[in-house]
Symmetry: C2
Amino acid sequence: MIKKVTIKDIARIAGVTPATVSMALNNRPRIGAETRKKIIKIAGELDYQPDLLARSLICRKSYTIGLVITNIADPFFPELAQGIEEKADELGYSVIICNMNRSMRTVGERIETLRGKGVDGIICATALVDDSPIRKLVDDHFPFVLLNRRHYDPDLSNKIDYVVLNNFSGGYSVVKHLYRLGHNRIAQLAGHFKASTVIERNKGALQAMKDCGIKQTPRLTIGCEYSFEQAYDAAKKLLKMKRPPTAIFSHDDYMALGAREAVLEMGLRIPEDIALVGFDDINTASLTGIDLTTISQKKYEMGELGVKILVEKLEKAVPQLVNHVVLKDRMVIRKSCGYHLTGYVR
Amino acid sequence: MIKKVTIKDIARIAGVTPATVSMALNNRPRIGAETRKKIIKIAGELDYQPDLLARSLICRKSYTIGLVITNIADPFFPELAQGIEEKADELGYSVIICNMNRSMRTVGERIETLRGKGVDGIICATALVDDSPIRKLVDDHFPFVLLNRRHYDPDLSNKIDYVVLNNFSGGYSVVKHLYRLGHNRIAQLAGHFKASTVIERNKGALQAMKDCGIKQTPRLTIGCEYSFEQAYDAAKKLLKMKRPPTAIFSHDDYMALGAREAVLEMGLRIPEDIALVGFDDINTASLTGIDLTTISQKKYEMGELGVKILVEKLEKAVPQLVNHVVLKDRMVIRKSCGYHLTGYVR
DNA sequence: ATGAAAGCGCTAACAG
DNA sequence: CTGTTAGCGCTTTCAT
């Protein structure tokens, strides 16, 4: 590595002190026009690049934010991450990404590393409803915002910013939709039971069942950890039951695709033999031949919004109100549920 | 934000100097067992977390690497990024991600920012064959490795590490395969013409055409910038020609999916009316009903390998040999090319 | 308008 | 074994 040029070098050449160079380069007032011009010229010639690390150390500001997600391989996240990265870039921030999927370290550890590296704030999409690392962030008054999932601690919730979907409504709509198409045995492929998304989608689903007079069958709800493979296995298991479900509500599209493979492999048709509904509306869901009925989430916008809220907290002198954003869910009816064949039957 | 506890605080309480605390906490020798124990205890009680920024500044090492990609929304990249992030995490590094897709800034600018932030090295997947930011990295002896695409400057190439696929062979196989299925008019949906991937896949394709005696028709090759929408449009254009192609070779699966939508929308069948072959083997390609014939790339492994090579450069005292890794391509025959219907006809 | 000096939090050199 | 001193590259007082 070539030795980097510092403000000292520039100062020496310009015959001024490092402080003057610093001020000149940072457009501070009270620097003579001549001096400033000369300094800028020299800096340009030497191809001077400021050491942002040193600047961060003294300013306590790194223009870097940390992003904690569960699994970048799940198509939900790239789109979220894209919104985050692009908005951050626009506002002058970089993002360090932490994919927790197969990390040997815990979320708490990775958050500590992030903080040690001087990130100005954190966006977390892995929160569980009773997460203690989140609690610690609140205690330390460290700036962060939760995306997609929220925290349930009642004492904390008015201190935590979050952007989530109306998951209850999403779950409710799916089951209601399926009920009206004639289904009475609806299975669920769920994620982590301590994720607010799962809890609320499930709550919505159960409420809809109750409202529709469908008997709840706990055995039909299986946790699949957002894994394609686990969803595949779970669907097989479901379909081999003596009284198999007639519809599967998958808590995300990625798992729905896993279930879809299982269904088709068993020689069953979608939607004629088994209806399938997903969640998220990933790109693949809209492909001809997949045609997955699902709940649409504005993932890109959710990411953008998360960054916007975080950066506002970081840059506004007066503390902002706590933001609790609940985005509207929207059902996208395609062909995997059978609506296009029969319409609602009740 | 709560005031952070520093080694000074610990030093004061322990009645030693900051230097001693530093050594004790970093497992340096020459520190009394008693003193060390006391210091560690105090650090624990105060929940001390080192300021890695300060450490980086003095050690000139941040344990952070920069990753520059084109577009995280293209399913090729999440898998690559996953390999990178997970390997980096395993080796103790964090990764700052730069998605160039809609960034207002150039690759060169973003690389400068990355370097300013003190990243130890860079992994770049956006290189064009004559990229000047890459040239600058070489000139500055800054550690980096190229993934997926390489640089063509003959003077530089023995100084640049890269991991790429055998793209020539991939392109060749696709056209040969299509030829043997009876196709004589093969269109290409290409990416950026200054990307080595595109150049080599195209070269392979042209060579195969030559070897097979297929007449080359430049009009049938369209640049689509890896965009789903552009591929969709291009496919429509192609199919509306008076002498449309009978097969489309898309330089990546994502574009192939765009083309697929166009084909199906026009009432044509795949593969009966038009054969379609992609590149990359993204997850969606293997879904039942999509069944895209494609060239498989080990994206996750490519990412891992890139990090491994970079970190070796960073941590080995003696400079390593320059790594030029060319991964083997492998054709995955599914149903979008028609092989399952007719087999090879020549 | 510019220089001098201090210091961010940490580590590395050399003393003691 | 431990303390003192110096300094990474930058910014920010406070003098001049």
